[in-house]
C-alpha cells in the first residue's frame, strides 16, 4: 500500500493556503513565521503528540520555472505541505494530534482554506483526509518498530554496552548477580522522551558534506 511501509504510515497532505490580498502579511508568510519559531527538540509539537517518527511542514509557493525549453506553469494556490511518518492508523493519529496539540494545529492551519479547527475532532479528521494525497514512494528508516520501541531499544543498547564495558573480566557469579539487578532496574526505567537526539554532537552539518 502506497501510504504504508511495514508498521509505519506515511502521510502526505497538501492544504491550500488562503489567498486574501487584504491580509497583511499574507497568510503564507504568517505560516512561515509560526513554523520558524516552532521548537524542534523535546518541546516540538510532534514530540508531544504521540506516534510521530519524523514530520515536516513546508510552505510551497509555486512550481519554479527553470527556463527554456520548459513551459511556464503555475499552481492555482500556495500550499502547506505536511508529511509525517507515524505508528498505527490515520484516524488514531489525527485524533492524537487534535487532542494533544490543538493550539499549534489551529495556529498553522487557520491560514488554510476550509480549515474547521481542531476543536471538532471529527471535522478536523474529515478536513485533513480531504487534503491527503497518496504518498506513492516512501522510505522509512525504521519501519518495524514503534517510536517507543525504538527509544527503548536505543536506551537498552547504550545501557547494555555500558554494563559490558564495566564488567569485562569480573567474576562470573558477581557479573550474573549484578546483571540480574541491572535488568530489573532497566525494565522499570522509563525510556527518554521523543525528540531528544542523544548526546550533543559537536559538529556543524550542512552544505555538501552530508
Amino acid at each position: 500500500m502506497a501510504n504504508q511501509s511495514g508498521s509505519v504510515y506515511g502521510l502526505t497532505l497538501l492544504s491550500p493556503i488562503l489567498n486574501d490580498e487584504h491580509a497583511v502579511p499574507s497568510h503564507d508568510l504568517q505560516i512561515r513565521k509560526y513554523l520558524a519559531t516552532l521548537p524542534t527538540g523535546a518541546d516540538s509539537p510532534f514530540a508531544i503528540a504521540p506516534g510521530t517518527h519524523l514530520a515536516r511542514l513546508v510552505v510551497m509557493d509555486d512550481v519554479i520555472y527553470v527556463g527554456m525549453p520548459a513551459c511556464e506553469e503555475h499552481l492555482n494556490s500556495k500550499y502547506l505541505v505536511f508529511e509525517s511518518n507515524f505508528d498505527g492508523d490515520l484516524d488514531t493519529y489525527l485524533a492524537g494530534l487534535a487532542t494533544t496539540i490543538p493550539q499549534h494545529l489551529d495556529a498553522i492551519w487557520s491560514h488554510c482554506t476550509g480549515y474547521p479547527g481542531a476543536g471538532d475532532a471529527q471535522a478536523f479528521a474529515r478536513y485533513m483526509k480531504a487534503c491527503q494525497i497518496d504518498t506513492t514512494f516512501f522510505f522509512a528508516a525504521v519501519n518495524d518498530k514503534s517510536v517507543t520501541e525504538t527509544l527503548v531499544a536505543l536506551q537498552t543498547q547504550r545501557a547494555v554496552a555500558d554494563f559490558v564495558a564495566t564488567h569485562q573480566g569480573v567474576d562470573p557469579a558477581q557479573t550474573q548477580r549484578e546483571f540480574i539487578e541491572f535488568i530489573r532496574i532497566l525494565k522499570v526505567t522509563p525510556p527518554p522522551p521523543p525528540g531528544i537526539m542523544g548526546p550533543h554532537r559537536n559538529l556543524k552539518t550542512g552544505g555538501r558534506n552530508e
Partner: protein, 472 residues
Amino acid sequence: MSKLNPTDIQGFVLRGYNMPYARYCFLHFEDAERACTLIRHLLPIITTGQLWDQGKPHSTVNLAFTHQGLVSLDLPIATLISFPVEFQQGMQARGGILGDTGVNSVEGWDEVWREGKVHAWLGIHALSLEALDARSAEMQSLIAETGGARLLGNQDAASIVMDGKVTAKEHFGFTDGFGNPDYLGVCRSTQPGQGKLTADGTWAPLATGELLLGYADEAGELPVAPVPHLLASNGTFMVYRKLHQNVGTFRRFLDQWGARYGAGDGFAREKLASKFIGRWRDGTPVEVSPDRPDIGIVQDPNRSTNFTYGNDAAGTRCPIGAHIRRVNPRDAFGFQGKLINRRRITRRGLPYGPFALEDETSGTYDPSEMDATDRGVVFMALNASISRQFEFVQQQWIAYGNDAHLGNEKDLLMGSHSEGEKYAIQGDTSPANPPFFCTGLPNFVELRGGEYFFVPSITALGMIAMGLVDPR
C-alpha cells in the same frame, strides 16, 4: 576517456615519490609582481608527472597555493570567487564541519597556521639529506634573488629508519600507505583492491575526475572548478594537516587494555593493536589474516589490498570501527561498494619527529613526556572536491559513526573523544577472539594546523606567473 598529459600535471599529484626526506616550505607573498617572477623562475624546476626513465632524480619540487595566496597574486576577482567555497574559506574556517574542536582547535595549532598568512606550499622531496639541503638552498636563493616571497617556516618530514632500513612505518608502529586508489589514465603499478569494486568482484580504476579537475568524475560530472577551464584542468586540491601523535598515550592505552584482552600476553597486545587499525603492525590486513600477521601477504600485491568486508558484516574478523574499515569501507555499506566511490582520497605524507622504538619504552616510561615530543605525520590528501571527498570522510566517517551503524562513535585513532565513548571489538566464541570494549578513550592524535591548497597544472602555473588568467 581523455588521455592524460603527464608533462602538464605536477608529479606529486600523479605519484607518491617514495623519497625518504621532505621539506615543506610555507611562503607568504608580499608583492604580486615579484611573486609572479618567482613562480616564473620555479616553472622549469617544478617536477611533472613524466616517467623517470633515467631513474629517480635526487630531489623534486612542487608548488601549491592557498586561496589567500591566489588573492595576493592578483588573480581576477571573477576567477577567485569561482573556486569551491570550502577552498575559499580555508581549513580553519571549516573547523566546525571537520570537528576540529577541543584539543584540535586552532588554539593548539603551530603559529604558522594560526595566523593564516600561508600563501603557498613549496614541497621538496629528496633521496638524501644532502640533496634536500642542496635543493632547499637553491630555493632560498631564488626567493632571495626575486624577493618573491617571505619564508614563514619549514616543516621537515622523513621516513622512519629502523635497523638502517627506510620503512613505511608511522610513529604508532604501523606500516602505512597501502590504500591509495587507482584512477583512469594515471600510470602506476596497480594492484587489486586499490580502485573501485565492480559488479563481478574485480577492481577497476576510479574516474579521473575524482583526482583531477577537468575530467568526468564517478557521477559523470565535471568537478566544481574555477574559471577559466584552462586554469583548473589538470590541477587538483590538497588538504594539508599536521597531525601530532601522542605515542606515550597510545602505548599506555595498549598496555592497559592489552593486559585484559584475550590471554593478556604480548601477542594479545599486538592483536588488540591490529583490531584498532584493521592491519597488524607489519601491514597484514586483519580481514585477510585475523589470527596472525603474515609478511607474505603484505609483500604480495595480489593480497595486501585485495579484500572486502561483505562476508564480515558482524566485524568478527576486522572490527566495524577499525580505522581502515571506517575511512575506506570498501563494500561494507552494501551496493557493491558504490556508495564510497565518490568519497575516496589520495594520500601523500611522511612522518616527522624522532621515532621511539617500542622496546625502549617497555617497563617504565613517562607517557606525558613521550607525548610532549614533537612527532606525528604530515597528512596530505589530494582530491578533486575537498568538501565531497576529504571533508565527508573526516566528518561522517571519522567524527561520526552513523554510516557504519556505530551511532555517535568516532574513529578510535583520529576522533576527538569525549567522556563516555567506547571502542567495541566484535568477537566470537573463540577465547583468542573475544568480544571486547575499550573505554576512557584518550586523544591519540591532535591537529597542529594545516590548510587547503590548489595544486595547479604546469600550464596554469604559467598563466598565473604571466598574468594571463582570464575568466571571460
